[in-house]
């Protein structure tokens, strides 16, 4: 299925990442958003609220992030594709409902344009400090999918992808932007609608009397039914059986939690997206994501000019973590260098996956700006033993 042309602004534009993200949402089929706008994500819903009345959809400015993050889920069960946007402080407030979306298998997208934290921190300045929050922020065991764009163009393409992955796996998906990418303006090419693949919602073909909202299916992703179409079913955050009714037994819990995890694990190949640059034969590989990878590329060029064989691996999907890719890489290099705009979050995951096979050198940064490429260059030199 391809994108509905009414939502696709085909052409070449000079847009910032936030604006491009909004266009990605529209191309991906979002026709509902509820938000409690917060810097540096505001421009996404500012644009959505301006665009959506002419396309046919709804934006509601809610009273807070709790309301925004639950309103989108109501819209999804009523048949819309929906997303919300926020930044650190709002992301914290949304955690309860992110867990609900995971538990009820409500396909929706949360965009977090990361700024410096903790708390209200640095409203207008960048960080990548919410990476672990995206993974583990809500309570209980649930898997997640998180994508990290490093340009306005990718804010478009990865937002479309986030909307698609949400539908394919019936799970909340995170688009983890950062302030630099959100507020940076570059050329963005929006292709014709018929070339943009859009994943339709997986709907049941059963009659209302036979529909079981959480029944077993081969890909572990049960088909949905929408409210108002004659189906009567129950959706709850409590542990539930195939009918959707609370069933608080060890067996039901084990079955449900394992399936939630397994549906993502089985889809790893379709979810994982990493970009490798001269990884073969490299002494050192820089592993990074988002804006930091662009800054790291400058350090990589400088290191190559010094004769160091250095490669790059950009994590486009950070969660689920590309564990096997990192492990395989670790066995072939002297060091992995992990710059990120936090005090070392994804570096922990890289270290875990390297399983001692190589040296892992984090290049932490407290945020408010990007790394000085020199800091990353120094880490590359250290890794190469220079």
């Amino acid at each position: 299925m391809h994108a509905d042309p009414t939502g696709v602004l085909t052409g070449t534009h000079f847009l910032n990442g936030d604006q491009a993200c909004c266009e990605g949402a529209l191309a991906g089929g979002a026709r509902f958003s509820a938000g409690y706008p917060i810097t540096p994500s505001t421009e996404i819903v500012e644009r959505f609220s301006k665009r959506i009345p002419t396309i046919g959809g709804v934006f509601i400015q809610m009273e807070d992030e709790l309301a925004a993050s639950i309103a989108i889920q109501g819209a999804v069960w009523a048949g819309a594709k929906a997303f919300t946007v926020t930044s650190g402080p709002g992301f914290s407030l949304m955690m309860e409902h992110i867990g609900l979306a995971a538990m009820t298998e409500t396909p929706c997208v949360f965009v977090d344009v990361q700024r410096g934290g903790p708390s209200t921190g640095l409203p207008t300045l960048p960080a990548q400090g919410d990476m672990m929050q995206a993974r583990f922020g809500s309570h209980g065991d649930y898997p997640c999918i998180a994508l990290c764009p490093s340009s306005p163009q990718e804010c478009f393409t990865l937002m479309v992808r986030a909307m698609n992955l949400a539908e394919e796996f019936r799970t909340p998906v995170f688009l983890m932007m950062d302030e630099v990418v959100g507020h940076m303006t570059e050329r963005v090419q929006i292709p014709p609608a018929e070339t943009i693949a859009v994943t339709p919602r997986k709907l049941t073909d059963k009659a209302p009397g036979e529909f079981r909202p959480y029944e077993d299916s081969e890909d572990l992703v049960p088909p949905m039914a929408h409210a108002g179409e004659g189906y009567q079913f129950h959706v709850t955050g409590l542990t539930h059986d195939e009918r959707g009714y609370p069933s608080m037994t060890p067996a039901t819990q084990a079955k449900l939690i394992r399936r939630l995890r397994e549906k993502i694990t089985r889809g790893m190949d379709r979810i994982t997206q990493v970009e490798e640059d001269n990884v073969d034969g490299a002494e050192v590989v820089v592993v990074s994501y988002g804006i930091t990878m662009r800054v790291a590329q400058r350090a990589i060029k400088l290191a190559r000019a010094e004769g160091i064989a250095v490669g790059g691996m950009r994590l486009v999907t950070v969660w689920p973590f590309p564990e096997e890719r990192i492990h395989a890489l670790a066995g072939r290099v002297r060091a992995l260098v992990i710059p990120e705009l936090n005090m070392g979050q994804v570096a922990l995951e890289v270290e875990r996956c390297a399983r001692g096979a190589t040296q892992v050198i984090p290049v932490p940064h407290a945020g408010a700006t990007v790394h000085d490429p020199q800091q990353i260059l120094d880490a590359i030199r250290k890794g190469a033993g220079r």
Binding site: H13, F14, E186, Q297, R298, K301, L302
Partner: protein
């Protein structure tokens, strides 16, 4: 593709591995259209000239009257590092902006100022070439002060070769309301003419008011 002329006199820098780029800072006070000017310039490069451009604007508690600036990197290759490290070109539309950003101007760089609003009171980096334009006065004479940023863009287009004339005009016209197209076109034209006259006269900025095309705007 336009020549990235400002590169010509730039001394080898430590980050010489990705040198084919021009770093530009546009600064002034809120309400002067600083961000829009940088946006138009970036659009001219990235959309209409087909090179690469990355624009970032400084976000802060800036409102009308406060300091305001934007950064633009124009390059033949995709831009990696998004910020200005050493500016090749500084466009200063206010005294405060001039004072704040002139230290980051590269030796041999270009300084463009709103000549009625900026007094060059401090030493400039070596070999900096300065050009001044009475952009606000020109805009007022054309009928609306708000187009002073477009006058500055015309002037910029004449004294640098970062973007082509055609791309600049397309970028301006696709960024302003249709009802204001004629005025903006005039503003761009006036800026270009004054800029070209300055360039051809080879006079230092302080003596440009001797040029007839320039002096005409000053009475």
């Amino acid at each position: 593709m336009p020549e990235l002329a400002s590169r010509r006199e730039v001394a080898a820098a430590p980050d010489a591995v990705e040198r084919e780029l021009t770093e530009i800072r546009v600064a002034g006070f809120g309400g002067q259209g600083v961000i829009l000017a940088a946006q138009i310039l970036g659009k001219a490069a990235a959309i209409f000239d087909g090179v690469h451009a990355t624009m970032t604007q400084n976000f802060g508690p800036e409102a009308r009257g406060g300091a305001c600036s934007a950064q633009l990197i124009v390059a033949r290759h995709p831009v990696l590092y998004p910020y200005v490290t050493k500016a090749d070109i500084l466009v200063a539309m206010s005294q405060e902006a001039f004072g704040k950003f002139v230290p980051e101007l590269k030796q041999g760089g270009l300084l463009l100022v709103e000549r009625d609003l900026v007094r060059i009171q401090q030493d400039l980096p070596e070999r900096v070439r300065t050009y001044g334009v009475p952009a606000t006065r020109i805009a007022e004479k054309l009928g609306k002060r708000v187009v002073q940023n477009i006058v500055m863009l015309g002037f910029f287009g004449a004294v640098t070769e970062v973007v082509s004339r055609k791309a600049m005009e397309q970028a301006v016209l696709s960024s302003v309301p249709a009802s204001m197209a004629a005025l903006n076109k005039d503003a761009l034209q006036a800026g270009y003419e004054v800029g070209r006259a300055c360039l051809e006269s080879r006079l230092p900025a302080s003596e440009c008011d001797q040029i007839p095309e320039y002096a005409a705007w000053l009475d």
